[in-house]
């Protein structure tokens, strides 16, 4: 279990761009959190701090209360796994199986553990049939699932996914949702960056809205997508999910998902 605490975290890139500005955020063990915001709002910069790929220029990061300023990324990778947005900037092996085994191998797991973790991770994303294929023979959607498997195999208590549904068809999105649900059921912390409001409303219990390197909103979907919060969402060029807008037009209260909308309609009778 790993609890993440960010205390007054700021980050300025070498060219002088301030990407994060005094971010205070706590993500408890086992939470499922979506981070949303316009491009350049600081989402990707923020998650790169979770495993030390970036180090804050102000403030500090704590894992289970321990300041990780002096802990190497290679060590933090055992706690926080990050799936990057573009699979082609991650995949390097000639075989799907080798790609998935890379993470547990670098973490020093035993041969038996690596084999089991690889098999389970491939099964979780539906790629068991492609274990011996060349990753570049897979389509984009399956390459993306492969990168998810390669991080799942590491068994980290925290899994971060950057735009997991980009380039996925409906089946791929369903598969990603299934994987996330499995992780949450296992008690692992799941954090995802996404621009897909329907996906985040339906898959995460907490949503953090970012803008200008700061946290603008932080709460459950029903609160973040409720009508009073819409001006804040608009300031970050975000639109609430369709179900939330329909619910608001029908004066049904906050209905961030289709299920919530149907339930509200049924309750009205």
């Amino acid at each position: 279990m790993t609890r993440l605490d960010l205390e007054g975290v700021g980050f300025v890139y070498p060219d002088g761009t301030r990407a994060l500005d005094g971010v205070d955020l706590t993500i408890g063990a086992g939470e499922s959190v979506a981070i949303v915001g316009q491009n350049g709002s600081g989402k990707s910069t923020l998650v790169r701090h979770f495993n030390g790929l970036l180090r804050p220029t102000d403030g500090r990061i704590l894992h289970d209360g321990e300041d990780v300023a002096d802990v190497r990324t290679a060590a933090l990778a055992a706690r926080v796994g990050i799936v990057f947005q573009n699979p082609d900037r991650q995949i390097f092996a000639g075989k799907v199986r080798t790609e998935v085994a890379f993470g547990p191998k670098t973490l020093g797991r035993s041969a038996t553990d690596i084999e089991a973790a690889t098999r389970d991770a491939l099964a979780a994303v539906g790629l068991s049939d492609a274990a011996d294929a060349n990753p570049y023979d897979l389509g984009y959607s399956r390459r993306k699932l492969l990168t998810i498997a390669s991080v799942l195999a590491m068994g980290t208590p925290v899994v971060v996914l950057d735009e997991p549904t980009t380039g996925q068809d409906a089946r791929g999105v369903a598969r990603v949702q299934q994987v996330l649900a499995g992780l949450v059921a296992d008690g692992r912390t799941v954090i995802a960056i996404s621009h897909d409001m329907r996906f985040v409303a339906g898959s995460f219990s907490r949503i953090v809205v970012m803008g200008g390197g700061r946290i603008l909103l932080d709460g459950p979907p029903a609160e973040v997508f409720a009508e009073p919060a819409w001006p804040v969402l608009a300031s970050s060029y975000l639109e609430p999910p369709y179900a939330a807008r329909v619910g608001a037009r029908l004066a049904l209260g906050s209905t961030p998902t289709e299920t919530a909308l149907v339930e509200a309609l049924a309750a009205r009778g």
Binding site: T73, F84, F102, G103, Y136
Partner: protein, 251 residues
């Protein structure tokens, strides 16, 4: 023409290319110490005038040092000579080896300063468009600019790939050996990604009639003063003269 920070930046790109070429080849042709050191001094003065002195000196040192160290080690200990300065195991460090290493070093620095100054003061597109204006085919011009501009893109791509591998526990923060080992998983995605980019960019260009035959109108006019043309020819003649003098044993 974009806004440029110094008069040296505003020179015609071909003039700066000729200065870089003459500086680089000249350092080799002249040999010894005086010629290459004179070229180094000229390049440093020009860099100072262009406001890039500190950056050029730093980059030149960083680029040249790894080669310089190996050159010094190999030359000092393997060059045959009569004056032995000291011994390490079976290897003799000779005065002739030290002399050869120093001569090679000043040449290397003169070359890296010449090329570095050109890169730091010339917009790749300006150089290529100027060549296109002088009759280089658009296809060749595109290949040239794509190659030059590929370097920062590759660096950015390598950084991102490195991050994704580090996120999976690859240790790249330790010793030299650890860093080298960490490079291996980066090479594949960098090359494959670059090839994919090239393919996609070619298709995008073709869909915009890139290979349509006929004359093109360039919207970016580069100044090329009369004195610059004279300077280029003078530098060229000096280089040829130095080469002839070197071949005939006069210097």
């Amino acid at each position: 023409m974009p806004v440029t920070p110094s008069p040296y930046h505003r020179l015609n790109p071909l003039t700066k290319a000729v200065i870089a070429t003459v500086g680089s080849i000249g350092a080799f042709v002249l040999g010894g110490y005086v010629g290459p050191i004179a070229i180094m001094v000229i390049m440093l003065l020009l860099a100072w005038r262009a406001g890039v002195l500190a950056r050029l000196a730093r980059v030149s040192l960083l680029l040249t040092l790894p080669i310089a160290i190996s050159v010094v080690l190999v030359s000092v200990f393997t060059r045959a000579g009569t004056t032995v300065l000291f011994q390490i195991g079976p290897f003799d460090a000779t005065a002739e080896g030290v002399d050869f290493a120093l001569q090679t070093l000043v040449r290397l620095f003169a070359i890296s300063l010449s090329i570095g100054l050109f890169i730091m003061t010339t917009e790749p597109r300006a150089f290529v468009f100027d060549l296109e204006r002088r009759g280089v085919p658009p296809r060749a011009a595109f290949i040239a600019v794509a190659t030059i501009e590929a370097v920062p893109t590759l660096v950015e791509r390598a950084t991102m790939i490195s991050e994704s591998q580090r996120a999976r526990g690859l240790d790249t923060e330790g010793s030299f050996l650890t860093r080298v080992r960490g490079l291996l998983p980066i090479v594949g995605p960098v090359i494959i990604g670059s090839l994919t980019d090239v393919e996609e960019r070619s298709l995008a260009l073709e869909s915009r009639a890139f290979s349509r035959p006929g004359r093109r109108h360039l919207l970016w006019a580069m100044p090329d003063e009369g004195w610059e043309r004279v300077l280029r020819w003078v530098l060229f003649v000096l280089l040829v003269g130095a080469a002839v003098a070197r071949l005939t044993g006069r210097i």
